[in-house]
Amino acid sequence: MKVRLSTATLTLAAVLAGCGGVDLEAIASTAPARVGEAAPAFTLVDSTGRTHSLADFAGKTVVLEWTNHDCPFVKKHYGADNMQGQQRAATGDEVVWLTVNSSAPGQQGHVDGARAEQIRTEARAAQTAYLLDPAGATGRAYGAVTTPHMYVIDPTGVLRYAGAIDSIPSANPGDIATATQYVPQALAELAAGQAVSVPVTRPYGCAVKYAN
């Protein structure tokens, strides 16, 4: 009898101990996306109000570009037509190009759909869609820390490139010509059925303005 009783209380204790572990898991489970693993799923509304999920683009190569039009590094690549040029080339090759804005309301770079459309038009941008991520969940899931911050996802949904737009971290558009542009390089290698030669780089740019 005594044994059975103590087993019951021990079980109770263990169950309660287990409950504590669950909360902690929830807090700690924010590992960002990793190259070579499945890219995190997301569903976001674009600048025209349409909803897009990563799953919608299964079978296609997807490029993600984190943006903030007020960031000097974004201006560097848009001002020199580098970003739009890459977008035109990619979408021309049936690649899906999604621009993502994770600036939180009240933070620099935060836009509504109308403003995003205006920015697109002014920049003559050629992305597939401009996605709004004001809560930052998608940005955090990918571990996007800078604008620009670039990701390439292959047709099977595996992340193949994460990092900087190019190899010269500077705000000077003069450097674009001599820098290696990582996304076109990765896209070309994927299209040729090769492994991505530079799969991970340290991104440079402005910090993504997540909600604090």
């Binding site: 103590s6 263990a14 590992a31 991970v200 303005k209």
Partner: protein
């Protein structure tokens, strides 16, 4: 990284750079046209949110000597520029000097940075007024009468927004046989030098794990506590900027794991860390690769269940601790104390003021004891002891005292001795009765008996707290205490609750006697723990002590009824002698380490005692291993063993996959086990780690086991290579 150049590209920034270069030329012209007075500095340049200028430490350049220059940055409030490793975003400040032929400039000598955090993005840089020094060597044969210095600098300055900036500087220093220190910048140079990392003489070894870098620091003097230092990764893309190293004391120094950078590809040939110690001295630690660093296998992020505890913020940790404390009230550990508390609450049920006062004193007792224990733990750990939470129960003498105390309480509840006698032991007056002191010490007792439950329950939060600065750690423990005390506190402040208490009456005598039994059971448990820690003989001596205590208390209880003063005197003396025996016996009991006995017992059911070496050997042979870290005083551990590990289901699964079963016993303090727990972010038991065959990443099993859960995890392992020793 490229250096800024005035190039021909007709772009905005390029043009801007050329403009600033021509501005620099204008400044140089102004210098040349100015009277020949010494000007050991350029004109300040104002750019967005920054005043910058190039300054010299001395009033003249001396051929054959070095000359200290500095880029003096005065940031607007809240704005910052970046260190050589800027962190998650940002760019390091760059300085390019143009000097006459033969005059050579060194690189920027970077003072240690500050940490800037924005949401989850962590950067390293400088705010306020900072000087970045550069050393210039003037050759002995430098013949000109002056030294023209031109420079251009570029940076990224950020608050929340970021603005790239650049400027050109020019000035001319007279050349002389000797030079004086320029007083205007003396403080800036002094501050920069003071913040410059000194080369550390201590040795830092690193090795790569799958998710983390293992670090081993040796040669530090005994009092050094790298836990409390501020660490900065000088080499980018190796360490995660947002994470911090989790240091643990080892026999040869300190070890830590530091989560890998998201951009980690491979360890570069040269890796360096900068640390700012408690005396605000900065040190630069060049790291040496050491593939033999043992804990690498174990330093891998085991799984998300243990998580990266450094990611846990103070607020979530406090909240968790508060909740944890509350739930602790439902743990069997605390039941006996709660029954004491319930008794006094019942007695005071019709006096709200008294209930409230009791609640407050009880809370004070709980919180103070948590702080005392946590403070002692932190102090001992800082002194190099390998201890975890629940450490006090690793001390057999402590266990004996708690057993004696609870036994005395139980005897009192049973009516063997009455309350309030004049010669009654201090322990009784401390925890019995209605006084403030009683409430306070009941709280203290609650913490002591609750601590074995606390360890598994609060694992990660306590693990987090124990590597934080002392103030943060103690705050978490205080929150834990508040949670534990909350129900009693609430009783005094929620009239409805107090009204719900049953009225006092004669039934309470029976109820009190009933409540003695959980206390007796707790004493039985403590006796067993004491036996595990010492020996069967030790346990027998503690039983003698309990009997002596019972005798003393009985005698004291009888004393008022004795008619002869002589008898009373004898009774007092006899009781005092018995009490002395009760206390002295367990104190003097020798406590042989139970290692040999434990090993023999463990061998019977196919388990082996854990050791770091045995684990490494087994893994080297490619065999899967299950490690079970347990302690006699850990109730969750015992439950898991009974419910899951000792079942046939699990035994068969282990045999099917030829899994070696290693059991570590932490009942008594064991630095090796404490270090092993720390690698998984734990400060206490239980911990179950399953290592797959062929050196794969280990998996941490939940703290609550089920037989089928363990069996599934084991059977999910790939089959081990054939073993000669396989059954």
């Amino acid at each position: 990284m490229d250096t800024p150049r005035c190039n021909e590209v007709a772009s905005k920034a390029g043009a801007l750079r050329c403009v600033s270069r021509s501005r620099a030329l204008l400044a140089l012209l102004a210098v040349l046209l100015a009277p020949a007075a010494a000007r050991p500095a350029s004109e300040p340049v104002r750019t967005d949110h920054l005043d910058s200028r190039l300054v010299a430490q001395a009033t003249a350049a001396v051929p054959g000597q070095t000359l200290a220059l500095g880029l003096l940055l005065e940031h607007d409030p809240h704005w910052h520029t970046y260190w050589r490793n800027p962190g998650d975003s940002g760019l390091p400040t760059q300085l390019e000097l143009e000097l006459p032929e033969g005059v050579v400039a060194g690189p920027i000598e970077w003072p240690h940075p500050e940490r800037f955090e924005l949401a989850d993005i962590v950067n390293f840089g400088y705010g306020g007024r900072r000087l970045l020094p550069v050393t210039v060597t003037v050759p002995a044969d430098y013949a000109a009468s002056s030294l023209p210095i031109r420079a251009s600098a570029s940076w990224l300055i950020c608050e929340v927004e970021c603005i790239p900036g650049e400027a050109g500087y020019a000035f001319e220093l007279p050349v002389a046989a000797s030079a004086q220190v320029e007083p205007r910048w003396a403080d800036d140079f002094a501050a920069a030098r003071a913040a410059l990392p000194q080369p550390a003489t201590d040795s830092l070894a690193i090795a790569e794990g799958s998710d983390a870098i293992a670090l081993a620091l040796s040669g530090l003097d005994g009092g050094a506590t790298p836990v409390h230092w501020r660490w900065f990764p000088e080499t980018p893309e190796v360490f995660a900027n947002g994470a911090l190293p989790q240091w643990q004391r080892t026999p040869d120094g300190w070890q830590a794991r530091w989560r890998k950078s998201e951009y980690f590809t491979r360890l570069p040939a040269e890796v360096a860390l900068v640390a700012v110690d408690g005396a605000r001295t900065a040190w630069r630690f060049p790291a040496r690769l050491d593939a033999s660093l043992v804990p690498v296998a174990g330093t891998e992020q085991p799984d998300i269940a243990t998580g990266d505890t450094s990611a846990l913020g103070l607020l979530p940790a406090l909240l968790l601790a508060l909740l944890g404390g509350l739930v602790l009230n439902l743990m069997p550990c605390v039941f006996p104390v709660l029954s004491m508390k319930a008794m006094s609450a019942l007695e005071a049920a019709d006096d709200r003021g008294e209930l409230r006062r009791h609640g407050l004193w009880y809370t004070a007792g709980v919180v103070a004891t948590f702080l005392l224990l946590a403070g002692a733990l932190l102090a001992l750990r800082a002194g190099g002891e390998q201890l975890g939470w629940g450490f006090q129960l690793q001390e057999p003498r402590f266990v004996a005292v708690v057993a004696l105390l609870l036994f005395a309480m139980a005897l009192s509840f049973s009516g063997v001795w009455a309350l309030g006698g004049r010669f009654v032991g201090a322990g009784q007056r401390l925890t019995e009765g209605r006084g403030a002191r009683a409430a306070f010490f009941t709280g203290a007792l609650a913490v002591v008996v609750a601590s074995p439950c606390t360890a598994p329950f609060m694992g990660t939060a306590l693990g987090w707290a124990l590597v934080q600065p002392t103030a943060a750690a103690l705050t978490v423990f205080a929150a834990l205490g508040l949670g534990l005390a909350a129900p009693m506190l609430l009783l005094g402040f929620a009239p409805a609750l107090a009204r719900a208490l049953p009225r006092p009456g004669p039934w309470m005598e029976g109820f009190r006697q009933l409540l003695a039994f959980p206390l007796y059971l707790t004493v039985v448990w403590l006796l067993w723990v004491y036996g595990e820690q010492t020996s069967a003989l030790g346990m027998a001596w503690l039983l003698v002590a309990l009997t002596a205590l019972a005798f003393a208390l009985w005698l004291l209880g009888r004393r008022p009824a004795m008619r002869s003063p002589g008898f009373r005197r004898v009774a007092t003396a006899a009781a005092a002698a018995a009490l002395a025996i009760a206390i002295a016996l367990p104190m003097s009991a020798s406590a042989p380490p139970p290692a040999t006995a434990g090993a023999a017992a463990a061998g019977e059911d196919g388990t082996e005692p854990w050791s770091e070496q045995r684990l490494a050997e087994l893994r080297a042979t490619g065999r899967p291993v299950l490690v079970n870290m347990t302690a006699a005083w850990c109730i969750t551990c015992l439950a898991n063993e009974r419910i899951a590990l000792a079942t046939d289901t699990v035994r068969q699964a282990l045999a099917a996959r030829n899994v070696a079963y290693l059991k570590g016993d932490w009942t008594r303090s064991d630095p090796a086990i404490t270090g092993y727990l720390a690698r998984y972010g734990r400060t206490g038991v239980p911990l179950y780690v399953l290592y797959p065959p062929d050196g794969g990443a280990p998996r941490v099993l939940p703290q609550l086991l089920t037989a089928s859960g363990v069996a599934d995890a084991v059977l999910a392992l790939p089959p081990a290579p054939p073993q000669e020793t396989a059954p």
